[in-house]
């Protein structure tokens, strides 16, 4: 792989405290040709979004330190990161959680367990927009 190829790859930040899920997600995104960076909680996620400037953030909601709602809000209210689309992935399957996620500025929402095809569809759509 050349340096040019690597720089063209879209960079996705996965913010997820469940290591196995994060690893699984990373493997699938790699397979689709994306570059993946990871953060294990909301605070790390916000820091990484600022320093790494990913093209997309995929974020869990229930996480230690800073939860997904707050992390999303922090990303969306910071001039350096507010243009990065955020896809929320969560096991909290209530209408309230969906509303809160969108209120926090999330661009898309997908409940767990999710179907990989549906996830990739959303990822492609968010990266294209």
């Amino acid at each position: 792989m050349t340096i040019m190829d690597f720089s063209k790859k879209k960079k996705i930040l996965v913010v997820e405290d469940e290591v196995q899920l994060a690893e699984g997600l990373e493997a699938r995104l790699h397979l689709e040709g994306y570059q993946v960076i990871r953060a294990a909680n909301g605070k790390e996620g916000v820091d990484q979004a600022r320093s790494q400037q990913p093209d997309l953030v995929i974020m869990d909601l229930m996480m230690p330190k800073v939860n997904g709602f707050d992390a999303c809000q922090m990303i969306k209210s910071d001039d350096r990161t507010k243009k990065i689309p955020v896809l929320i992935l969560t096991a909290m399957q209530t209408l309230g959680a969906t509303d809160d996620a969108f209120h926090a500025g999330a661009d898309a929402f997908l409940p767990k367990p999710y179907n990989s095809e549906r996830l990739l569809e959303k990822v492609r759509r968010l990266l294209d927009s």
Binding site: E18, L21, G24, A27, H30, M92, Q93, G96, P113, S116
Partner: protein
């Protein structure tokens, strides 16, 4: 507790005859009064105990209700996460993320995947019903075109119907009414009813989705050419965990747990509507629901 006191009172009057010596009479009445006081005190004590008991039971019920909601959210999160890991892992394997998969292994991975997806669907059903029954389901009411929703459902089901060689017909009046309701919930009702019709219809069968309205209500019916339902089964078909026996050999992964129609009923009732089924064995079934156009 008032009745025995009253009885005593009457008894006292009966016994206090005018021919009795007044002193004797007074003594007698005094004794009766004492008895009554004693009975009153006992009754009061009884009420106090009952009240305490009721207070305690009320607290217990509140605790149970809290426990139940906590159970629902815990189950939701704690079961969903490992299931998400399993599904993600199988899908990765099937997608070839860790190298090529031999045909025989693919067959079994497909089966695992199918069952994991099924489990995920069942979990969603259980949680849905639990939230509905608990009154914890948050509803978002909105104004929308009911015929759009029905059409959308039919379009969604069309590929599955074609796969089973079942024709899916839609009868919609030209003018489409709007309703004030939860579109997400009514979509779920439609999906459930049509899913059942597809499940029970034989190849070559026909499903008709009809839509009617008048000034204040909208009515949707799903009619199939399936085996029909016996009168006995019809009576309990909306109750939880009831599954009608059917001849088609179903495998575990397509079989539900009998909550779909219960969820439908709960949702329709939340909309102040009604739902029912009409059927005759051998002549198909018709499921109908009706909701007010402005449900609260």
């Amino acid at each position: 507790m008032r009745i025995p006191v009253q009885k005593k009172n009457n008894a006292a009057r009966d016994r206090a005859r005018p021919d009795q010596n007044p002193e004797e009479e007074i003594a007698h009445l005094r004794k009766e009064l004492g008895d009554m006081e004693w009975a009153c005190r006992k009754t009061n004590d009884g009420i106090k105990i009952l009240y305490k008991d009721l207070e305690w039971k009320n607290e217990e019920l509140k605790k149970l209700d809290k426990l139940r909601s906590k159970f629902v959210s815990t189950v939701s999160h704690e079961l969903r996460t490992p299931l998400a890991i399993i599904i993600q892992a199988i899908e990765n394997l099937l997608a070839g993320a860790f190298g090529p998969v031999p045909e025989k292994q693919r067959l079994w991975l497909d089966r695992i995947n199918e069952n994991a997806e099924h489990l995920s669907g069942l979990l969603a059903e259980i949680l849905d019903l639990s939230k509905l029954e608990n009154g914890k389901e948050e509803r978002k009411l909105e104004r929308f075109d009911m015929s759009d929703l029905v059409r959308h459902c039919v379009d969604n089901m069309q590929p599955l119907a074609q796969k089973k060689n079942i024709s899916l017909l839609l009868e919609i009046p030209p003018a489409s009414p709007t309703v004030w309701a939860s579109s997400r919930q009514l979509f779920q009702v439609m999906t459930n009813l049509m899913g059942n019709a597809l499940k029970f219809s034989p190849a070559g069968g026909k499903i008709t989705v009809a839509f009617e309205e008048d000034k204040s209500t909208v009515r949707v019916s799903v009619t199939d050419t399936g085996p029909g339902i016996s009168a006995e089964d019809l009576k309990k078909i909306f109750d939880p965990f009831v599954q009608v026996e059917n001849d088609s050999s179903e495998n575990v992964s397509t079989k539900g747990i009998g909550l779909g129609l219960t969820i439908c009923r709960e949702i329709v009732h939340l909309h102040k509507g009604r739902i029912w089924a009409e059927s005759e064995p051998g002549h198909g079934s018709r499921f109908v629901f009706e909701i007010p156009r402005e449900s609260q």
